[in-house]
Structure formats: structure tokens, C-alpha cells
């Protein structure tokens, strides 16, 4: 399967701080890719690099088989929705569609107009007076109106209320079902991504911690509970992601492609959110100290 985004050792530094380091990814086409990580992890940086709003400090990035911004024709194939859906406050909704039409040769005016109609938006309303959810919808229309092959969304629902959030995701799913394109969307909330993403990238503290199809990740991560044990005693093929112990019991999150045959363990599946949280905690250096002798594995 062709890759929509390929990076090799990609890094971006601002003054002395590395916003993104050593990022090597091959994101396949035809997926809804979730980019998840805490605030400041580097998600926006990675997405901005993908659309050419930033230039790499080190490494390379190729989008749709070419460097970003190589030619305007490449920009025509990529739709971008920046954080907070920046629109021109003085322009009306209809004028934003006109903007899309004038600046993109591949613009589908009929589709865009139908979408605005269906959303119940007033074409004559100035973008500055729209609600957050409405602005996100207009910005999404602007991004997919040019019929891109790849849609990149930077925290599209972060500042939306729950209803607006759900409606936005419903819309996005419908658009994908209608006409297939790849999507990369970032969020710091895993719950948003769980329903819609089938490929996941976990970015913490400027580095990629985990990347792969969701089904495969869930199938290869297991929660092991059993009597107190040193994680180092596990077979080599089982990589321990996180461990917590009480005096009697050990709970481990392991990643393995083999079956766990040791009868001492109770093996259970792990949910996406818990899996991602475990990687985030590991990246943060094991997390907080707890009361001695008592380690709580928080299930949320």
C-alpha cells in the first residue's frame, strides 16, 4: 500500500528546543490516522511540516510521494484544517466558498454549496459571528471542497462542545464514506479518536512512541495480572510497556505477537485508551510517586 506520508529521521527545532525529534513514519493510504499525544508533544509541528508551513531542521518528509510544497499541484491534493479553524472574520460563509473556488482549480462548487446547505448555515453570515462548531464545519468544507486525496486536521474538535464535536466527526465519517480519502487527524483526547481511527500514532515529548493499525495494536497488547514478579523474567518476545506492583500482585502491559502461555498470568484485552495512556506514562518517566507499598494501576 502506498504511503501518504513518509518521514525519515524528521526533526524540528525552535531555538534550543526540539519540538519533534527522530521521527520515522510510513503512514499508509486509505486510513483514518489518529495522531495522539499530550499538548506540546509535537503533533502540530508534525502536521505543519506535512503541509509545508514549516521546514524540517533535520531529516526528510514526503507527502503523496513528494516534498511538501513542491508544486501548487501537490497542495491541490491535500486539504488542511489548522488548529482553531482560522477563517477570515470579515468574509461571509459564501465568500469563503468563493475563496476555495478561486484558489483551487479542483474545487467542487456544487458539493460545497450542498454541504453548507445541509449544515443549515447561512451563506451570508460573516465568519466572525459563527460559533466554534460552525467555524470548524466551514473550515472542513473548505478543506474537502477541493476534493483532496489526503486530509490533515490539526485538533479539529479540541475547542468544541460535545455535540459539535460529535456532529463534526459524523460529518467527517460521512465524507469519507462518500468518497475515499486518507485522513490524518490529531487530538489530545483519545476518546475522540477511538471511534474513527483505524491507524494510530502516539507522540509524546517530541518522539513517536507507537505507530500501527489499531486492530493490530489491540491484538498484540495484553494486560497480564498475576503473582508478584520481576518483569525482566519475561520471555524476550514479550516487551513490557508498563508495570505496576503491590506486595502480592503484578500487573503488566505487554506487547507481543506470540501467545502468552504462562499459566500464572491472567491475560485480558486492553482498551485503546488504556494502552495509549500506558505509553504516555512510560514516556513521562513512570509518572508520579505513590504511597510506598501500594501501586495503583488506574483504569479510566
Amino acid at each position: 500500500m502506498t504511503a501518504v506520508i513518509e518521514t525519515e529521521g524528521l526533526g524540528k527545532r525552535y531555538r534550543r528546543l526540539w519540538a519533534l525529534s527522530d521521527c520515522t513514519l510510513s503512514i499508509p493510504a486509505g486510513h483514518v490516522v489518529g495522531l495522539v499525544g499530550p499538548n506540546g508533544a509535537g503533533k502540530t509541528t508534525l502536521l505543519n511540516l506535512a503541509v509545508g508551513l514549516l521546514a524540517p531542521t533535520t531529516g526528510t518528509i514526503e507527502v503523496l510521494a513528494g516534498p511538501p510544497r513542491a508544486r501548487p499541484a501537490q497542495l491541490a491534493r491535500i486539504g488542511f484544517l489548522a488548529q482553531d479553524a482560522p477563517l477570515y472574520a470579515g468574509l461571509t460563509v459564501a465568500e469563503h466558498l468563493k475563496l476555495g473556488a478561486r484558489l483551487n482549480p479542483g474545487w467542487d462548487a456544487e458539493y460545497a454549496r450542498r454541504r453548507i446547505d445541509w449544515l443549515g448555515l447561512d451563506p451570508g453570515q460573516k465568519a466572525g459571528t459563527l460559533s466554534g462548531g460552525q467555524r470548524a464545519q466551514v473550515a472542513l468544507t473548505l478543506a474537502i471542497g477541493k476534493r483532496p486525496e489526503l486530509l490533515i486536521l490539526d485538533e479539529p474538535v479540541a475547542s468544541l462542545d460535545p455535540l459539535a464535536r460529535r456532529e463534526f466527526l459524523e460529518d467527517l465519517m460521512e465524507a469519507i464514506a462518500e468518497r475515499e480519502f486518507s485522513v490524518v487527524l490529531s487530538s489530545h483526547l483519545i476518546a475522540d479518536l477511538e471511534r474513527v481511527c483505524d491507524y494510530l500514532i502516539v507522540l509524546v515529548d517530541s518522539r513517536v512512541r507507537l505507530a500501527g493499525p489499531v486492530d493490530e495494536l489491540l491484538a498484540t497488547h495484553h494486560l497480564l495480572t498475576g503473582p508478584r514478579r520481576d518483569p525482566a523474567t519475561l520471555p524476550a518476545g514479550q516487551r513490557v510497556i508498563s508495570a505496576s506492583h503491590t506486595d502480592r500482585q503484578t500487573t503488566l502491559l505487554v506487547r507481543t505477537s506470540e501467545a502468552v502461555l504462562d499459566p500464572a498470568w491472567t491475560v485480558s484485552e486492553v482498551g485503546l485508551e488504556d494502552m495509549v495512556l500506558a505509553y504516555m506514562r512510560e514516556a513521562a518517566g513512570g509518572g508520579r510517586r505513590r504511597a510506598p507499598g501500594y501501586h495503583l494501576e488506574v483504569q479510566q
Binding site: 521546514a55 497542495l75 482560522p86 477570515y88 472574520a89 484558489l103 482549480p105 479542483g106
Partner: protein, 346 residues
Amino acid sequence: MIWLTWRQFRPQAVTAIAALAAFAILLGATGPHLASMYAASRVAGCQGNCDHLARNFLAAVRGIYPVVFTLGLAVIILAPAVIGVFWGAPLITREFETGTFRTAWTQTITRARWLATKLILPGLAAIAVTEGLSLMYGWWAAPIGQAARVTGGVNFPLGMGPFGLPAFDTHGVVPIGYAAFGFALGVTAGVLIRRTVPAMAVTLAIFAAVQLAMPLAIRPRLFPPVHATQSLAANFSGIQNQGPGGHFAFTLDYLDGAPGAWILSSGAVNAAGQPVSVMPTDCVHVAQTTGDPTQCLASHGISIAVTYQPTSRYWPMQWTETGIYLALALALAGFCLWRLGGRRLS
């Protein structure tokens, strides 16, 4: 992109058209009467010594006319600065501050085309507005200008020789250069500083500095000045300062035979051409008794050395100065294109 640029520029265009219209109405309401007063004064067709006719006319120009006269000069001088600060600086900073550049730069357009279109349309409008103001005002103020030139500019508050500071800057073609430069300067400040209010402040400061430096330091040197000597015996209008101990100095603001010339410096010299600043003792005595040592100084061979730009240099200077400002504007525009297109910004 042309549509988008126009749509974003529309509010400023409306303001500009309103300002032009208001200016035109003001000039149109007062201009015809001024012209008819001038025709009645018969200064235009006069041969020989028309000085008193001109002075009569200028004395009659009272009431609203001097107000409009000064206001017009102020408007034209300030227009390029206003354009630089309110059209130029926010052009790019608004896009950075609101984040809309992330929307604009991910459409199917190169950054070069985006910026070039955003520069050209308002830039041409800036030039048109400023030059339009200048031409309207030039038509209105023509009678006053001509009369003032006849009198040598002594009777009118602002020096009206063509090289006079407000006159040169507000007539001819230099407003075109100022407008282009002011606008380009504003845009560049915006590109580098990326926040609206600081960019506006920097634009104003730099533009003011340049506009002061040009007439004071650069314009006099655009062409090599002419040197001449004028005898004290000839008719001259100048101011003679007498300090203690026989020190004196001449200031000449009207050169015999070259009305309207731009006098860069003048001073008293002796027969050998060396500067003289102390009066001979017998002339001090003459000054004390009669108050006018002119004839006495002349008898000692003292005359006035003048450095000036003749009026024939007016249009060459206009075009050269305009060329300099346009070149600066283009250089700034090129810099902005390189800065935004080559480097990628966060």
C-alpha cells in the same frame, strides 16, 4: 487571488475613496473662486515688475484659503505615512495574528503569487490615491504658487519656491515614490515583526526618519550644486545679522536672476574668495551710525558666495528622487517575497 485581495482590501478602499471625495469636495468648493480672484488680479499676463500685483492678490487670499492651503499640504505629506501604517503593516500581520495564513498557504497557490498579488493591488491603489491627492491640490494651489514665485516667496508663510520643503514633496511625481515606499515599508515591517501594532509603530518611525533625511541630506546632493557670487551692490533681499564685536553674517533667500532657485548655503566672502565673518572697523562705525553697512562692505570687495540648485534641476530631481523611492520599494517587496517564500515560518 485577485478577488480575495480585493475583498480583503475593500474596507480600506472605501475609506480611501471617501477621503478622496471629501478632499475633492473641499477643493472643488473653494478652487473656482480662488482661480477667478487670480484672473482678476492680472498677475498672469503681467510683464516686467509684477511684484505689487502679486502681493495684492496674496493679501486678498484670506479666511478659508490659507486653511485649505495648509490642510492640503498636510494631507499629501501624511498620506504615504498613513498608507504605510494602515495598509502596509497590517497586510501580513493580520494573517499571522489570526492564523489565517495557515488557511491561505494551504490552498493551491504559491506563496509568491499570494504575496505578489497582495502587494500589487493595494500598492497601485496607494500610488493612485496619493498622486490623485497631489494632482487635485496642484490644480487648486496653482494661483497661489505662481503669485508666490513672483514675489520671491517673502509674503507667504510657507516658502513657495518649487524646492521649498512642502512644495517639492507634494507636487510632481515624488508622491508616487513616497506612496510606494511607505506601503512597501509597512509590509516589510509586518513580515519581520509579525505583530500589527509594533509593525505600525516601526513603519511610522522609519518612514518619518527617511522623509526627514531625504530633503535635508540627500536631495541637495542628488546633482552637483552650482556655485556663484552675488555682489552686495546688486538688489538683493537677505537678512543681515549683526553680532557683537563686528561679527556678521548674511542669509540669502532670493538669488538675483534666479527666482525660485534652491539656495543650499550662502555666506560673505572677500575679494579673494575667503569667508569673512568680521566687519572692517570703518564699516562697524557705519553700521552703528546708519544701520546699513552694505555699501561700506561692498567697497571693501566683500560679496556673497552662494551654493544653489537652479530651477532647471527641478524635474530631474523629481524623477531621480521618485526613482530612488521606487527602487527602494521594489527592493523591499523582493525581500518580502524571498523571506516568505524561501524560509518557512511557524
